[in-house]
């Protein structure tokens, strides 16, 4: 797994539950030294071990944890860069949804060895979208759900999100857009991130 993803999990634990919690999770998962480097690549099993140790330590199902990680990624001040990069996807939540298919390619423009799962968006009715997440790891789709939920708030859109199907390579999220501009949303000015 790419270090950026492992590092995101580490930062999520540190920023949400504190450094001590992370050190305990790292110890339980056998991560020594207890840190992930964002620009290195790690064995996939390490990610699983960390998520398992975290789930055990917090007594939380992994799916819930992964959704929390998704929320964290686009709402915490320490990961503002991620929110900003996603907001480049479009001026409205609907445009943002349409841009998700380009996300793996866009990510590769910045970090060539970062492999994100392929995403496919289909309109399956009026204001109704189905997002297919072709990931091997179940964590991606759950994190994606957290990201979508939080980005909808970011755009000020009112949406309902749900899994229609789950499974490796065929996670399907149904998105019904109740109102595109329900609230003000957070501001996004170009050039403000630099």
């Amino acid at each position: 797994m790419h270090g950026l993803i492992n590092r995101a999990i580490q930062c999520f634990v540190r920023d949400t539950y504190g450094e001590d919690c992370w050190l305990a999770v790292a110890r339980d998962a056998g991560i020594d030294p207890p840190r992930f480097e964002a620009m290195l690549t790690y064995d996939d099993t390490l990610t699983d071990d960390v998520l398992a140790a975290l789930g055990a330590s917090l007594s939380k199902p992994q799916e819930e944890l992964c959704e929390d990680i998704g929320t964290y990624l686009v709402s915490h001040p320490n990961t503002e860069a991620v929110r900003r990069l996603l907001r480049f996807g479009g001026a409205t939540f609907e445009e943002f949804l349409q841009s998700l298919e380009d996300l793996p390619d866009r990510a590769r423009m910045a970090v060539p060895d970062l492999e994100l799962p392929q995403l496919e968006l289909r309109e399956c009715g009026r204001d109704l979208f189905c997002l297919m997440c072709k990931a091997d790891h179940p964590c991606f789709a759950c994190a994606l759900l957290g990201i979508l939920r939080t980005m909808a708030d970011d755009y000020g859109a009112l949406v309902c999100l749900d899994f229609v199907e789950k499974g490796p390579g065929r996670d399907l999220i149904k998105i019904s857009l109740v109102e595109g501009t329900f609230a003000e949303g957070r501001s996004f000015e170009l050039g403000a991130g630099l």
Partner: protein, 326 residues
């Protein structure tokens, strides 16, 4: 056949395709500003303003009339707002009858210009790559920050590892830390050994007169000579600037030690060449043997070898002395 219907107002079309355009009349007065360009000067109605009051034309040089500007139609223009923020822009002009359309865009580094204004993706034409450029700059900056953090951590780890290491990086010999590790082990295991403490004379003069590169070269050569004149089981250390130590495992015979030391001293009397110039050094040696002690103590043996060395130094050039048994 004309493509755009005669009499149609092209302004909405231009506002969509080129939201940073200006329309100017034959006298150079602005008659319309595209919606994004208008946002760059939010406190000012640009209509009626003279183009040359709003902008300085940087390239081509010395353009201050519409006729001169129209002569550059289709070519690349460089302009800058006359008032702060003095954002630099690229432009291209196309005549439209007696009027002209001047389309503008931010210049590289594009983020410098954009960050002065509250703009969003909607302010750029959907086909304009400026927003993608900004995305890429932000993404690359984030990735580069992560890489730099990793690099500085690796750099710190490298320095820490070097500090922990047992090798003298200049000569490739073992260092004082290694010596402090090995000596107690020999004593604990009851292995007989001899210490030969060697110190270079005149080394400082080489550093001072011929430079540190010459000094470094001399130290490397001395290390090579020591390795060449000792056995595989002997270990050479660089324990100070121009101080060396040899540990001879299992060799305590005075005659043999004397002959090795003598060969070392005479070899070091020969000048070492650096970039064709001879460097003259010399060495002094002090020796302590474990068999001269009832219960050898590394620290005491080192002190005794050191004392013998200084006795050698006082006796003259290229001498060697044994620490007297007792």
């Amino acid at each position: 056949m004309t493509c755009i219907a005669q009499g149609t107002d092209v302004t909405p079309l231009l506002d969509t395709l080129m939201p940073m355009h200006l329309q100017i009349d034959h006298k150079g007065r602005i008659t319309h500003a595209g919606p994004t360009l208008a946002k760059l000067r939010p406190d000012r109605d640009l209509r009626g303003v003279c183009l040359f009051d709003l902008f300085e034309v940087l390239r081509p040089r010395a353009i201050d009339r519409v006729s001169a500007l129209r002569a550059q139609a289709g070519g690349k223009l460089q302009l800058r707002f006359a008032q702060p923020p003095k954002t630099a822009l690229n432009g291209v002009l196309a005549p439209l009858g007696a009027a002209s359309v001047l389309n503008l865009s931010f210049r590289m580094p594009v983020q410098d210009g954009v960050s002065d204004y509250a703009l969003s993706a909607k302010d750029f034409a959907a086909t304009d790559l400026t927003v993608d450029m900004l995305y890429l700059i932000e993404a690359k900056t984030a990735a580069m920050d992560a890489s730099q953090r990793l690099n500085s951590r690796l750099q710190g780890a490298k320095i820490a590892a070097e500090e922990r290491a047992f090798t003298d990086t200049l000569t490739g010999l073992k260092n004082r830390r290694a010596m402090n590790n090995i000596l107690p082990r020999l004593v604990e295991n009851g292995i007989e050994f001899s210490l030969m403490h060697l110190d270079l004379d005149h080394f400082k003069a080489i550093n001072d007169t011929m430079g540190h590169a010459a000094g470094d070269h001399v130290l490397q050569e001395v290390a090579r000579i020591m390795a060449g004149l000792t056995r595989e089981e002997d270990t050479a250390f660089r324990i100070g600037g121009d101080e060396f130590l040899l540990i001879f495992q299992g060799m305590t015979d005075r005659g043999k030690l004397q002959s090795v030391a003598g060969r070392l001293l005479s070899r070091l009397e020969q000048p070492i060449r650096f970039k064709g110039k001879p460097c003259h050094v010399s060495a002094s040696i002090g020796i302590a043997r474990s068999v001269d002690y009832g219960k050898p103590d590394p620290a005491r043996m080192m002190a005794d070898a050191d004392a013998a060395l200084y006795f050698s130094k006082r006796s003259g050039r290229a001498r060697l002395h044994f620490h007297a048994a007792g």
